[in-house]
């Protein structure tokens, strides 16, 4: 097995471009979707909103019990049947975002429940409106508690973006594989892709551990 440096240098920009344009971008958008939808799920379940709570509980169980590629295929082939024509990348973001929203919802729930009951009671005693209590008292405290777990899920979502190749999203691993197929040389492109993943997720994990420590001591 030979390592062809010239070839490696040649293909590096293409792989990096796919990383930034798709892998990072999809992770970013999916994280935001997961954070927002997960919070909605958590609040609806916390407030025991009738019907909606049960629907969400069922949805969460379904999503958590099925693998991401199956969910991707499902959306990719079923959406068009209902006249919903969206690009593969959008489907990828939707799928990862909703998938992780279910995990986020659990994290939020734990965080919200970790805020002492006395905080709600003090807010009631001051006649503060519900919305204000959520926004300015409960959630800021919950976020402090859950930030490390949310960060861990972002990193794990990041590492699951290659699943998007099943619906042909040109993310980094897909591009690396294509390059390999063109040159019959898979070692360089896939190694580069692996190293880029490592270079991105390792420092993120270290930073997260620092943050965890910082929040724990504060």
């Amino acid at each position: 097995m030979n390592w062809d440096m010239d070839y490696a240098i040649d293909i590096f920009p293409d792989i990096l471009e796919a990383f930034v344009k798709y892998t990072l971008w999809v992770t970013f958008l999916s994280s935001i979707l997961a954070a927002v939808v997960g919070l909605l799920f958590a609040i609806i379940r916390f407030l025991h909103v009738p019907v909606l709570s049960q629907v969400i509980t069922g949805f969460v169980e379904f999503v958590r019990s099925t693998p991401i590629p199956v969910q991707l295929f499902f959306l990719f082939y079923v959406f068009p049947d209902y006249g919903i024509l969206v690009g593969a990348t959008t489907i990828g973001v939707l799928c990862l975002g909703l998938h992780y929203a279910c995990y986020y919802a659990e994290v939020y729930r734990a965080g919200i429940e970790a805020v002492p009951k006395g905080q709600w009671e003090a807010a009631t005693a001051l006649s503060l409106p519900q919305r204000y209590t959520w926004q300015h008292i409960v959630l800021p405290q919950a976020v402090r508690i859950i930030l490390p777990s949310l960060g861990n899920y972002v990193i794990s979502m990041f590492k699951e973006t290659p699943f998007l190749f099943v619906i042909s999203v040109p993310e980094m691993v897909f591009v690396a594989k294509e390059l390999g197929a063109q040159s019959f040389d898979y070692v360089e492109p896939l190694t580069i892709a692996g190293l880029i993943f490592l270079a991105a997720s390792y420092p993120a994990a270290v930073a997260l551990r620092r943050l965890e420590k910082h929040l724990g001591h504060a």
């Binding site: 009671e121 003090a122 009631t124 005693a125 001051l126 503060l128 409106p129 519900q130 204000y132 008292i137």
Partner: protein, 275 residues
């Protein structure tokens, strides 16, 4: 101490503004599942009156405060604050269960200080004092801050405005919590075992602040405490509870020195022995 003569005031309520009942429990029932904590409890507290609720744990004292603060749901009966029912709204000449807005409006007149302070740890001391006056009473930030500084001075913590609650001792936190409750300018202040979670050397400071408030304002107070000396000094009336019923009530000198009811005697005996 120049305590107004409330024995007669209570005896002759009606007439003068201060003689009006401000809090009225009318056949109040509170059940937690199968457990009945309050069973058709009725009593009144006049405007400006300071009443201490004593009794063994589980006798319903704290539940009374929590019902007034709407932290627990009412099972039955009526609670009146002034001429408004707290848990009900008038609809024609009937009383129907209150909605959130009504609850908020009526309970604005009531403030509460908790055993565990419950300050908001994500805000500064000043933030704790001004947020509710701004959001709920519609005060300007300047106005609320001015009042906040005044209150901090009053509880002896003017230099702590920018500190976070976690940087304060328990006693200081409780003094901030008292200031926070007062910032809402309530007509009624509920004190729920406010010194029970404090180290002994910090209790005097908190009680000092409360004595000062009692001396200088005519705010109505309902106090649940095990500090009998404090109760004796500041309250106009002491109510002894057992199993959700008032077994004896009267001026503190009478209740503490010559209790008539056997359960009151036994309770005071147990409390004083403990010291």
């Amino acid at each position: 101490m120049a305590t107004p003569d409330t024995t007669t005031r209570h005896a002759t309520h009606g007439g003068a503004v201060h003689g009006q009942p401000l809090i009225r429990f009318d056949n109040v029932v509170k059940r937690f599942g199968d457990l009945t904590v309050l069973d058709k409890l009725s009593f009144e507290v006049n405007a400006g009156e300071r009443v201490t609720l004593i009794g063994p744990s589980g006798s319903g004292k704290t539940t009374i405060l929590r019902l007034l603060m709407t932290l627990e749901d009412l099972t039955g009966g009526y609670i009146w604050v002034g001429d408004q029912p707290l848990w009900h709204m008038r609809k024609g000449d009937k009383l129907v269960p209150a909605n959130q807005k009504h609850l908020r409006d009526v309970r604005k007149q009531i403030g509460m200080v908790f055993q565990h302070f419950n300050l908001f740890p994500n805000m500064t001391v000043m933030g704790n004092l001004i947020e509710a006056p701004i959001r709920v009473l519609g005060k300007s930030k300047e106005e609320a801050s001015e009042k906040g500084r005044e209150l901090l001075e009053r509880v002896g913590l003017e230099e702590k405005a920018d500190a976070h609650p976690t940087q304060l001792s328990g006693g200081q936190q409780q003094r901030v919590a008292i200031a926070r409750a007062l910032a809402m300018e309530p007509r009624v202040l509920l004190l729920d075992e406010v010194t029970s979670a404090l180290d002994p050397e910090l209790i005097a400071g908190v009680l000092g602040v409360l004595r000062d408030i009692a001396d200088t304002t005519d705010i109505t107070m309902l106090i649940v405490t095990h500090e009998m000396g404090f109760a004796r000094d500041v309250s106009h009336k002491v109510m002894m509870f057992d199993h959700g019923q008032i077994v004896e009530q009267g001026p503190p000198d009478k209740i503490f020195s010559e209790p008539e009811n056997d359960r009151t005697k036994a309770f005071l005996h147990a409390i004083l022995d403990e010291r």
